[in-house]
């Protein structure tokens, strides 16, 4: 069965700031859509908004997955329908093992819980395929993982959950050359096995060269300003975006600094106080 994700005239705001200003995009099974553009111009916002992050407000537009309006669906319902988001910055869930997390996620999509044997066989095979540490299943989700391990763990989760359409947000950043190849191989294998459709955000032609995009799009200032295929990816890799700004007479959004988040803590210097 062919699956279709259709985005129509999508406008999205974050904290009252308009980020997406009318995005149209259709992704079908087996297609690989390269999504490029300068930082801070809406690539991640598009993926987060499709998946339903509560901080991203939909101002206008529609998103359909297999002709079902998903904007009125909960995040978990979108995931269960077959969408998957591999995050640019995967979260750490201390105290929850990868095994428990994945089992719960797999079972959420099933009427009957997955057999322990099948689960273990599946996770072990995928751990091996991605050259991850053998004890991964028993480690807490992304806790103490290196940047590259976190990214591979996103792919591991995807391979276990087998979505219809995957959205990969800079999945290649933080990976060394060998790991990029492993991830690309895993994506290609899943695509050939299941007809996985993909939206892939990356800045690197090398990664796109491995996964062979069927379509390419460039987002500038919240709009897709140019579309093409693998050739467009190569041109951007060679020439950057300046030629686009000149040809289309557009300007990219300047990157705002991310707000820094500090962890809270207290440190009581009682003895110092006692000693005056």
């Amino acid at each position: 069965m062919e699956h279709v994700l259709k985005i129509k005239d999508l406008h999205v705001s974050v904290d009252d700031k308009k980020i997406l200003k009318g995005v149209n995009l259709t992704v079908k099974s087996n297609e690989v859509h390269a999504l490029m553009g300068p930082n801070g111009n809406g690539k991640s916002t598009l993926l987060q908004a499709i998946m339903g992050h509560p901080r991203y407000r939909i101002d206008q537009g529609e998103v359909y997955f297999d002709d079902v309006d998903i904007l009125c669906k909960r995040v978990d319902e979108r995931a269960k329908a077959g969408l998957f988001l591999a995050m640019q910055y995967p979260l750490t869930i201390s105290g929850v093992t990868n095994s428990d997390f994945l089992k719960a996620a797999i079972n959420a999509k099933r009427d009957e819980p997955i057999s322990l044997f099948k689960f273990i066989k599946g996770i072990e095979a995928n751990i091996k395929k991605l050259h991850m540490k053998e004890d991964l299943a028993h480690r807490f989700v992304n806790d103490g993982f290196s940047g590259g391990e976190k990214k591979r763990n996103e792919i591991l989760q995807m391979m276990m959950l087998r979505p219809e359409i995957a959205m990969l947000d800079e999945i290649d950043s933080g990976l060394d050359v060998d790991a990029i190849k492993l991830v690309a191989d895993a994506l290609n294998e899943l695509r050939s096995e299941t007809g996985l459709g993909m939206i892939v955000v990356s800045h690197y032609e090398r990664f796109f060269d491995m996964i062979k995009p069927t379509h390419a799009h460039v987002i500038v200032d919240g709009r897709i300003v140019v579309e093409g295929d693998e050739e467009l990816v190569k041109r951007i890799d060679q020439d950057g975006y300046d030629w686009l700004y000149r040809e289309l007479d557009i300007k990219p959004v300047k990157i705002n600094e991310r707000p820094l988040v500090y962890s809270l803590g207290t440190c009581a210097h009682q003895r110092m106080k006692d000693n005056g």
Binding site: V75, A79, A105
Partner: protein
Amino acid sequence: MVDYLIKDVDSRHLHLNRDVNYILLVNDDLKLSLELDGESHLIILNQASKDIRIQNTGTLKKDAYLKITYIDLSAHGLDLSSDISVDEGASLEVVLKILVATSKQVKMNYVNHKAHSSVLIDNSAIVLKNGDLNLRCTGDIKKGAHHSASHQHTRTLTFNEVKRALCIPELLIDEDEVEASHALSSGAIDEDILFYMQTRGLDEKAAMRLLIHSYLMLDEKIDQSLMDKLEKQVDEICMMY
């Protein structure tokens, strides 16, 4: 896997002075004193159906090892004080799993008394509506306890309308050549973590269940019937949220 002996505590005073692997089921106020060498594992499980006070004092002798776990999932009040001194080459691991639906006070004081001693503390608390937690945890490295370590990690998960979730992770260090750290995280469930879990298909309830389990369930395997009982208690808590 540690082979624990389950022991109903029927006395208000208990003194342990040799290697022990006990799960102590506590139903009333308890004064527990420890004077241990060798390797010991203790799990202290509050089963009381009323407010109680647990006072735990002790000494770990040279090169001894003790892992002590306090579990309190009761709906009643608790006043827990734990004060243990660690001798040369000895290692102390402390785990606290606590559910706070009423007033609970925990005062921990672990002293690296001599050189090459080690203290590792891992506290987890869930503070429910009307819960009032006062947790003070002190790692104290004395002069002369060189090449010692004192690390503590506390995390509390709070729900709406808690009265208080006060945690003070404290380090008192009187020696230069030591390793010490304290970390504290406290607050409601992170919106981004919840979103991350939901993107994998877990609804809010299932995500919360996994998180609450991660705070309150033991990592190690113990007696199955006791594990089942704890699991049931945690599930009941999850049902409320």
